[in-house]
Symmetry: none
Subunit: 231 residues, 4 copies
DNA sequence: CATGAATGAGACTTCATTCAT
DNA sequence: AATGAATGAAGTCTCATTCAT
């Protein structure tokens, strides 16, 4: 089915690489705006000011181009998380970073790509779908790690599967983003992010860390602190 | 714009109604599996074992057929919620009902329709989009009511917008469903539903401010400790 | 190609004849409004409040129905002329009757049928065309007779072919009618008819050869004069 | 309503222009032969020996193609009239030119386009109709001007509306042309044109230019002439 | 290398017509 | 006698893709 043949000869060189970047940039726009089916190679070529044939000189076809667009997008996101994640801080702080960054990335880039992945990734024929599974895994890895570390530290409850928690964090964000798009409303990213964390954090807390114990802990730490200060 | 032409003549009668039901059933399948763009009238007709012309005898066209499919689907869901919601019970019990029913409806029907609504509702030209807005409202109404009643009773926190809470409930469910589809894994609905409520319920509870602060303090001290240890 | 088979069995009887008349009446409307191609059997059936199948019970098909509509229309027109023509009076009076009646018939019935005949009669495949030739002959017969009689009496010139005169009378009327339709303007039939006769009658009079030459001379001298003056 | 979408990209270049001319040439034939509804893009493509897609590469669609065909045809006619009209000569000579040129243009090109305009221009939905109104005006302008100038000079009667005279000239020509087509008979253009003018001219003359006066005028001009010659 | 030009395959849709009931 | 229902055939149009230049 899927042609695996490479285009006659993909050009190489500095100029060629620039061309590839241009095509990818514009394709990302078009796929994001229109979705896979409604996007056309004509539209992409026209926005670039080149002929359709040129696009096909550098990419196998529409499908391959779309896959590449999505891969690149994932890579960017994953990089951003891996590099920025404040690993040393509390799980809550890490979550806050994750949520805010996520909202930023999606709202800036538009939710188009998000929708693209969600709807095209689901298409029956494993046309695009199978490409995404590993990407999805890498993409959610920072969150999963965050949760796992928090669980080890006792900061996060361990009575429920991590995958459920992941859904409880990613799901609302996607939902909010679509809502924002659908209503064409501006979103206050900072506020939304902090509200979201305020809402969800209690859901992640260990259920058995009770106020009583916390108070005792607080007292002891305070006492220890004063002891040091007094010394 | 909107075509007003009636199909040549929509038959009416017992046999005709059966045919309409058949077409709708199969169309729901096809749209759900393939999405709007990839679904074809040819496919629908073939699965039904009739000619394409027959489909067009009963529906104005692909678009109208799809709209009808979605409307019917929403109606089913809304009915189920409105009739089954245990209004007398606690907010938590009502939420449990909502979540479980939701998962059931979606998993039985497949998430295809959900994806259909989400991706087509977002399409550039508000071709299908505008049909959905009122449906969406009716569809989320039971949940919003539930939350509002809980808030009045003091069962649910009132320091965050309802819309955020709505997203925090619907979002995870959609996410789980897509995950289930993508991995083609069976889902234990009862367990997933109860886990989900166990996870989310604390997020909805009124905040005990003191406890909240203590928890934050606890988390940060722990993190500081680990930093020292790690260094 | 053209099926010559009769419909299974054309019903007969008083009720059947009424039905046929109804179908023809409505079909005439529809064909006149929409032209042959744009008219549909569905439209005809719907306006009648019967099923399409019923139409096919009484007529071979769309084509045959249209032919019959046109034949009937011609028959009406021909009858009107043959019965009303004031044969005893002067050629000019007869022409006046012919012109006025013609305008009346066409404007009342709409020019739709006229257009139908003109455009369908011309279609390449002699589908409808060949049916019309004899009708056209009968239809123009009253006019041709009128002219021939006038010529014998010396009331009408005999230096030009009759067919040309026929065109000079029928042509303008059709032109006026289309103009009226195109601009959706009301036409004052009496005035238009008398103007038309006033205009055309001199064209039909026997030529006074000498006067004619003098007139030509006068025109040319005048033109030459203006040329000099203009220079 | 009116689609604004451009074809994917209309090629521009020497070869492309040739192709466009070819498509227009063949389309003109097909529309002329069959009328708008019966003409098919398939037929056009087949006669050209290209795929249907090629036709759609150069034109938005059937409708646009037809509009262009008609516009071009009108332009040709209008140019011919505007350039060839012998403005300096007598009104009769100008009319003779107009009639003969008209017959030539129509008989060479076939009356198909004439019929196309007349029947499609009248179609219920003003699909094509509205395109024609301005063209019609430009097209009849030379004739109207001719008549107006003649009237000012006293060469043409002023007791009847110009529009009626226009119909009395254009109408017969169309009628003759259809007759020619319907009977598939050759037409002697020169003879028909001169006969037509001979027939119609008396209809346009001022009714009060009488033989007596003309004779006197003739005598005087003759005398003047001889005086000059004698000198 | 870039592209102008062409196209095969397939989409949605319409409608005259048939036939069992 | 009437019709409900179904459909074959055809039509317009779109788009990813190819290939010679």
């Amino acid at each position: 089915m899927e042609e695996i043949t490479t285009p006659r000869r993909v050009p190489a060189g500095a100029k060629a690489e620039q061309r590839i970047r241009d095509i990818l940039r514009v394709s990302r726009e078009v796929f994001a705006e229109l979705g896979y089916e409604r996007a056309t190679t004509t539209e992409i070529a026209q926005r670039l000011g080149v002929s359709e044939a040129t696009v096909f000189t550098y990419f196998h076809g529409k499908r391959a181009l779309c896959v590449r667009v999505i891969e690149d997008w994932y890579d960017e996101i994953i990089d951003t998380f891996e590099q920025g994640m404040p690993r040393g801080q509390s799980a809550r702080a890490q979550l806050a970073f994750y949520v805010k960054t996520h909202l930023q990335l999606f709202l800036i880039q538009g939710t188009g790509l998000c929708a693209l992945v969600l709807s095209e990734g689901r298409a029956k024929g494993p046309d695009l779908g199978e490409v995404f599974v590993p990407l999805q895994r890498r993409y959610t890895a920072p969150l999963m790690d965050l949760l796992a570390r928090g669980r080890e530290n006792g900061e996060i409850r361990d009575d429920l599967p991590l995958s459920l928690m992941r859904s409880a964090i990613l799901g609302p964000m996607e939902h909010i983003l679509w809502d924002a798009i659908a209503r064409e409303r501006e979103v206050d990213i900072d506020k939304t992010a902090s509200d979201m964390v305020a809402l969800l954090w209690p859901a992640l807390l260990p259920v058995n860390v009770e106020a009583e114990k916390l108070r005792a802990f607080y007292g002891e730490v305070g006492a220890a602190l004063r002891k040091v200060e007094g010394a």
